[in-house]
C-alpha cells in the first residue's frame, strides 16, 4: 500500500488522527478499494470511530502492489499521533506526506516531506490484525438531526471541560437541548451544577425526532469528532434511537467519510427494565448479512438489546493474519447481569461476574455476539479481537 497526501490535506489527516486519539489507544489502518480507512475503538468497546479517506483525497493512492494481498495493520495510537503531534507545525512546514506499507517492510513508513528539503521518516512498528468493523446502520435509526458543526460546538462550549456525559434531547417547542448529565447520587449534599443549552429548530438543517426523546452519551469522545467537523466546516448528522441504543455521528464529504458510534445510557426507570427482561431482544441491524444467523441466539438471552455487533473477518486475508481465537471475556458476565435489572450498564469486559462496572456504558458493540456456546453451523462466530490477549 502506498499513498501520497499533499498540501492542506496533510493537516486534515492530522486532525482526523487527533480525533481518533480521543477514543482509542490503537489505530487500525486498512487500505480499501474505497479508500484508506482509519478506525479505532475504546477499551470498553463503548465507542467506535472510523474515517474513510476516498482515493480522491490523495494525490496518489495505491491499495496494493500487483500480486500482493491486501494488508492491514494495527498501530499504537500514540505512535501515529506523534507524527502529527503539532498541527500548527504540520500546516506550516509539511508539503507532502507519504504513507507506505508493504509486506517486505517490518514497518509502516510515514514520510513527511517538509520545507527546505527536510524529510522526516517515521518507521512505526505495527501488528497484524483482523479488520476492525463495527456493524451498524444509520438508516435504521428512526431519529436524526443535522446541523453545521459550529452550532453544536458552540452549544458544547458552555459545559465544563471536565464533564463526561451529556444528554441530547428534544424539548417542547421543538428545541434541541444538550444537558450535562450527572449520575444520581444517594448523598444529595454534594450536588453538581446542571447546565443546559437549548437550540432552536431553525438552526438545524434537518430535525426528525419526536419531542421528549433523549439519549445520553460520553461528551469527551464526542468532542473529538466535533472539533474535526468544526475545523473542516462540515455539517454533522446525528442518528439516534431510544436510550440504550448507540448514537451515530456522521460527516460526509466527497473526500472523506467519518462515523463515530457511541453507546448511550440505558434509562434506569422501572418501565424500561420491565420492557427488556421478558421480551426478546430486537434483532440487531447489520450491514453484513452473513452474521445474522447467530443473532437469533441472543433473542433467548435475557439481556438488553445491543445494536451493534462487532465483527472480524476471519479467513484468508493475508498470510500473516492470525486466527481469531481470543475472545474478549465479555460474554458470560453480561449475561449474568441480566436479571439484576439495575446492572444495565456494564462497560469493562470482566471475567468476574458481579464486579461493579467501572463505567456506566455497556459494551454495546461487542458483548452480544460473544457467545461461542451457541455457534451456528454457518460462518464461525465473529468475535471481537482482544488485542490484550495476544500478548
Amino acid at each position: 500500500m502506498k499513498c501520497l497526501i499533499t498540501g492542506g490535506n496533510v493537516k486534515v489527516l492530522g486532525k482526523a488522527v487527533h480525533s481518533l486519539s480521543r477514543i482509542g489507544d490503537e489505530l487500525y489502518l486498512e487500505p480499501l478499494k474505497d479508500g484508506l480507512s482509519l478506525r479505532t475503538v475504546n477499551s470498553s468497546r463503548s465507542a467506535y470511530a472510523c474515517f474513510l479517506f476516498a482515493p480522491l483525497f490523495f494525490q496518489q493512492y495505491q491499495v496494493a502492489s500487483p500480486g500482493q494481498d491486501l494488508l492491514r495493520c494495527k498501530i499504537l495510537m500514540k505512535s501515529f499521533l506523534s507524527v502529527f503531534r503539532s498541527l500548527a507545525m504540520v500546516e506550516k512546514t509539511v508539503e507532502k506526506c507519504c504513507i507506505s506499507l508493504s509486506s517486505s517492510n517490518n514497518y509502516l513508513v510515514v514520510q513527511l516531506h517538509c520545507k527546505y528539503g527536510v524529510k522526516k521518516t517515521h518507521n512505526l512498528s505495527f501488528q497484524d490484525c483482523e479488520s476492525l468493523q463495527a456493524v451498524f446502520n444509520p438508516s435504521l435509526c428512526p431519529h436524526l438531526l443535522r446541523a453545521p458543526a459550529r452550532v453544536l460546538a458552540e452549544a458544547v462550549l458552555s459545559f465544563p471541560p471536565a464533564l463526561t456525559e451529556v444528554t441530547l434531547g428534544i424539548d417542547r417547542g421543538r428545541r434541541v437541548i444538550l444537558r450535562s448529565y450527572q449520575e444520581e447520587e444517594a448523598d444529595s449534599t454534594n450536588k453538581a451544577m446542571v447546565t443546559e443549552t437549548s437550540i432552536g429548530e431553525e438552526d438545524f438543517q434537518q430535525l426528525h425526532a419526536p419531542e421528549g426523546i433523549a439519549v445520553t452519551f460520553c461528551l469527551k469522545e464526542f468532542r473529538g469528532l466535533l472539533s474535526f467537523a468544526e475545523s473542516a466546516n462540515l455539517p454533522l448528522t446525528v442518528h439516534f434511537d431510544v436510550p440504550g441504543r448507540p448514537v451515530i455521528f456522521t460527516i460526509e464529504d466527497s473526500l472523506l467519510d467519518s462515523h463515530f458510534v457511541l453507546a448511550t445510557l440505558l434509562e434506569q426507570d422501572p418501565c424500561s427494565q420491565n420492557l427488556c427482561s421478558p421480551n426478546p431482544c430486537q434483532p440487531v441491524p447489520q450491514k453484513q448479512a452473513h452474521s445474522i444467523p447467530h443473532l437469533d441466539d441472543f433473542t433467548n438471552d435475557d439481556i438488553d438489546c445491543y445494536m451493534i455487533a462487532m465483527e472480524t473477518t476471519v479467513g484468508s486475508e493475508g498470510s500473516r493474519a492470525q486466527p481469531s481465537t481470543s475472545l474478549p471475556p465479555v460474554s458470560q458476565p453480561s449475561h449474568d447481569l441480566a436479571p439484576a435489572s439495575e446492572e444495565e450498564e456494564e462497560a469493562e469486559p470482566s471475567t468476574v461476574p458481579g464486579t461493579p462496572p467501572p463505567k456506566k456504558f455497556r459494551s454495546l458493540f461487542f458483548g452480544s455476539i460473544l457467545a461461542p456456546v451457541h455457534s451456528p453451523q454457518g460462518p464461525s462466530p465473529v468475535l471481537a479481537e482482544d488485542s490484550d490477549g495476544e500478548g
Binding site: A155, P160, E196, S198, D203
Partner: protein
Amino acid sequence: MKFRAKIVDLACLNHFTRVSNMIAKLAKTCTLRISPEKLNFILSDKLASGGVSMWCELEQENIFSEFQMEGVSVENNAIYLELTSENLSRALKTAQNARALKIKLTNKHFPCLTVSVELQLSSSSSSRIVTHDIPIKVIPRRLWKDLQEPSVPDSDVSIYLPALKTMKSVVEKMKNISNQLVIEANLNGELNLKIETELVCVTTHFKDLGNPILPSESVSQSRHPEDMAEVHIDIKKLLQFLAGQQVTPTKAVCNIVSNRIVHFDLLLEDISLQYFIPALS
C-alpha cells in the same frame, strides 16, 4: 421565599461577573444574602476558613433591571443561601455576550439558583438559551445571627494600599520562604511586608501611600506617626485575598489593629468588599 432578578445591561453583567469571579477566588463556599435593597456575599465560617471573614455588598438596583424578592417572612425579609462560588462564576462566564440574564430561586429536584442566559449569536437566527441550575442550601433563620455584617474594629493605623498587583507578586515570592508574614504600617504612609526565617529576613517597603483621615477621635490621634502597627498573619491567606483582585479598586484601605486583625476595605466602583485576616495566635 421567592427571588427573581434580571440583568439586561451588558456593562452591569460584566461588573457582576467580575465580582463573582473575585468571590470564587476568595471563598470556595459562601453565603449569598438577598434582601430588598442589597445582595451580599458573606464568608463567616470562622472555623472552616481559619478565621478569615469576608463581607461583600452591592446595591441591587445598580446591577439588576428587575428585582423581586420575598424573604422568609415579613419581619425577616431576607433570604440566606449557601452555594459553591465557582458555580456562579462559571454560569456567568457563559453570559459573555448575552442579551439578558435571569436569576431565580427554583426547586428542580433540589433547591437551586437558576441562571438563565439568553444569547444572540450572529451565526444563528434564533436565540440560544443556556440554563444553569446551581445547587444551593437554604440557611435557616437561627443561623442568621452568625452572618451579620462584621463590626469594623477601631484600628491603630489606617493606610491606603499600594498597587495590589505589586503586593501580590511580592507576597507570592515570599510565600516560598516563610509561612508567616508581618504586615505593618504607620500613619506616615509607610507599609512594610516582612518575613523572617532563621536564615533570612526579607522586607518590602512601600512609601508615600497616604493615610485616610479618620472622622472620629481615635487611638491614632495620640499615636506617633512613625510608630508601626503590626500583625502576624498566615501568608497564604493574604495571598488568597490578593489573588482574587483582578481589577484595580476604586479605593483600597488597610486597617490594622496591632496584633489582632488586619482589615482590608476595598471599593470596586459601587461594590464594597471587606476582608478580615486575624493574627496568628
